[in-house]
Symmetry: C2
Subunit: 407 residues, 2 copies
């Protein structure tokens, strides 16, 4: 008679996971990257040289670098963040973490308590929204336009909260290639955001995970770089620029917050081999690898946009993104993207339904997120054709595809 | 004027960390290993071959293996756990985690709520005790003797709790090279433990992190292997057998618990490169590497025991351990190990004071944990001599060292 663990589970536990059944054939979900763009030779050479030189430090937790992570990787980041994002921070201001998701967990644990309120872009990263929900934190959504978070709406929300006696714990923003809208907040809006943050005494959490993937290679200065009052916690990652299965991200934070995050980071350090290999590789090759990666991603999104135009015609509305790995697509109002998601999955096509990526379930009902970095060009074309067929069968749209009228 | 984050911190937050000041000269704390025993050539070769063959899968979260971790590593573990520990489990029963600390967090989160009670060995791993404290869980300590957890005392505690209407959520045990006592629970006690667990309807969490380091190479069957009712969650690690800075551990659990842990593991997978390199290396070399490592560790502990005998004489009491990386030492009753810890640290010697490794602060007051794997033989001798000097200065003992009477 097997022991029954069920009565032991606390009531607050999330529902159980289902068994993994393998990836769908046409996989347009998850922040996966292009397998062809993994810099294998460079990573292999980096592994050899760094292990040869200092592999024996693997015998020590945290290497010889202490709890904030491998020092040469923090040194690389300090230089990179200055060069690319205009940020002034030293290795001592940087904490290496096991992917930016751990950064979110540490920031949330250090600052949030049940019942708190945060401000977020209305359409947002599912992983962040789910975290706030699990913590019992209210996420107030600010609408976006083609320029990202609307500052008039942010000001109104701050005023409204203040009138109700609510001080949000922080403004969580993905300003550079926003997830899922792919919008980029320009520097004038960033300046306004900082003014509002100062005026209402609310700090900012800047999630900059996609910032390396702006097609032009030119990104606005980080909000962290523009702040005069050290009120910005900055989060980044190597998942999008090198490889997502390497779980290496980072947080830049003032010591007041850093010292609290360190006290909460009771994992005896993040994976050392990945940190060592990344530091070795990136110091020499980051600057040439990433532009090549961006070119490949740009070609992928062009294939995706062509396929959508061909298969959906005017039924699929989207803006040509300025960077990233996903497209946020508006389908006709009668399309329920949660139903479309279920129906498409049965045909081997995985997409993200809008309501899972937004605090506004009505606004996002007919929207979907399509990740384009991982599937091949051919799979993008085939998968979007299947998606259009499913959508037509379920919702009667698109009525035309491949320039042919459909029943 | 810098932004003040202080008012934002929730009241429940642990105290802030202090800035890392580097490792002490004589470092007898932490589960660090012998730098000379890191199998560098093997790890380099493994990195090359596995990256060459399947490195492109790094572009996909979780590789092609799903959320339970890199499949070849789980396959290796399935075989290893059968061979070494007598366990019958398939890759589907195994979850790869970012070090066994994440395993503890997931097990605790899946099973514990504030106010719960667990049963533990009285002297215990600080990381586990701290976790229970932070969660607001009462840890009831069971005394140990030379054979590990005393089953008569466990039975009495279970009876006592039952009489008080308390059902412990689980019995947490480190049965094979217990931390810090280095005791090994033999199979007859394991059988009795399972009887008691069945009788009182309490499951067991078996933390087997040190089990590879039994000098003889022969370990009792895992409690998991002996259970008839699938009531054991088994935790293991590669930190002690390969290298601690690689953050790779694992949990074996029935699906009822596994599915809950998976729902709680929202980190998008554990580090893939470390999993890949370990799987590649271990499949070929684990069986030859670990016996060599054990030999080296045995020599280290012999140096430590000689140094203690020479410097402390009869003032230091300990049992010759049957494996592991630490020694649990009893000093004379007047020694306050928390004070000794502070004084020794000033002289560059780090030890673990007993009260941080026990639920019984009186019992552990004059005890210390000394980790011997990382320091060189010379540093062990020098560090123990400094420790004896500090101890004599602070507490008047040992009165003799190096066979010479001291003032």
């Amino acid at each position: 008679m097997p022991f029954d663990f069920t009565p032991l589970f606390p009531a607050s536990l999330p529902p159980p996971a289902v068994r993994w059944a393998g990836a769908p054939k046409y996989n347009f979900v998850g922040g996966n990257n292009d397998p062809g763009e993994v810099p294998l030779d460079g990573l292999m050479a980096a592994a050899q040289s760094v292990l040869q030189r200092e592999g024996r430090t693997l015998a020590t937790y945290g290497l010889n670098s202490g709890p904030q992570g491998y020092r040469p990787l923090r040194d690389f980041l300090s230089t990179k963040l200055k060069r690319d994002a205009g940020m002034t921070c030293s290795a001592d201001d940087i904490l290496i973490v096991s992917g930016s998701l751990q950064a979110l967990d540490l920031v949330n644990s250090a600052l949030l308590a049940r019942g708190d309120t945060v401000i977020v872009e209305k359409d947002n990263y599912q992983g962040s929204l789910n975290r706030f929900t699990r913590l019992g934190v209210t996420a107030v959504g600010i609408p976006l336009d083609k320029g990202g978070m609307r500052m008039d709406a942010l000001e109104a929300a701050l005023q409204d909260l203040k009138a109700r006696g609510v001080t949000p714990k922080f403004i969580y923003t993905i300003p550079t290639v926003q997830n899922p809208t792919a919008t980029i907040l320009d520097e004038s809006r960033r300046a306004r955001l900082l003014e509002l943050a100062d005026a209402y005494d609310v700090p900012i959490v800047e999630d900059d995970c996609y910032a390396d993937l702006v097609w032009s290679g030119e990104r606005p200065r980080a909000i962290h770089a523009m702040s005069q009052s050290d009120n910005v916690i900055h989060i980044g990652s190597f998942s999008k620029s090198i490889a997502p299965a390497l779980r290496v991200g980072f947080v830049v934070a003032p010591w007041a917050v850093m010292s609290r995050m360190l006290a909460l980071k009771t994992d005896a350090g993040s994976g050392a081999l990945e940190q060592m290999v990344l530091a070795e590789y990136c110091a020499a090759h980051f600057g040439t690898h990433v532009p090549a990666l961006r070119k490949g991603l740009r070609k992928k999104v062009e294939t995706l946009m062509e396929a959508l135009n061909e298969q959906f015609g005017t039924a699929a509305e989207f803006d040509d993104p300025k960077g990233g790995i996903f497209l946020w697509v508006k389908l006709p109002d009668n399309v329920d993207s949660l139903k479309l998601y279920q129906a498409a999955l049965k045909e081997g096509v995985a997409i993200n339904p809008g309501p899972e990526w937004s605090v506004d379930k009505d606004h996002s009902k007919s929207r979907i997120r399509i990740c384009f970095a991982s599937p091949s060009h051919q799979d993008i074309r085939e998968g979007i054709a299947v998606l259009a067929d499913v959508c037509r069968r379920e919702f009667g749209v698109p009525t035309r595809s491949s320039n042919v009228a459909k029943a």
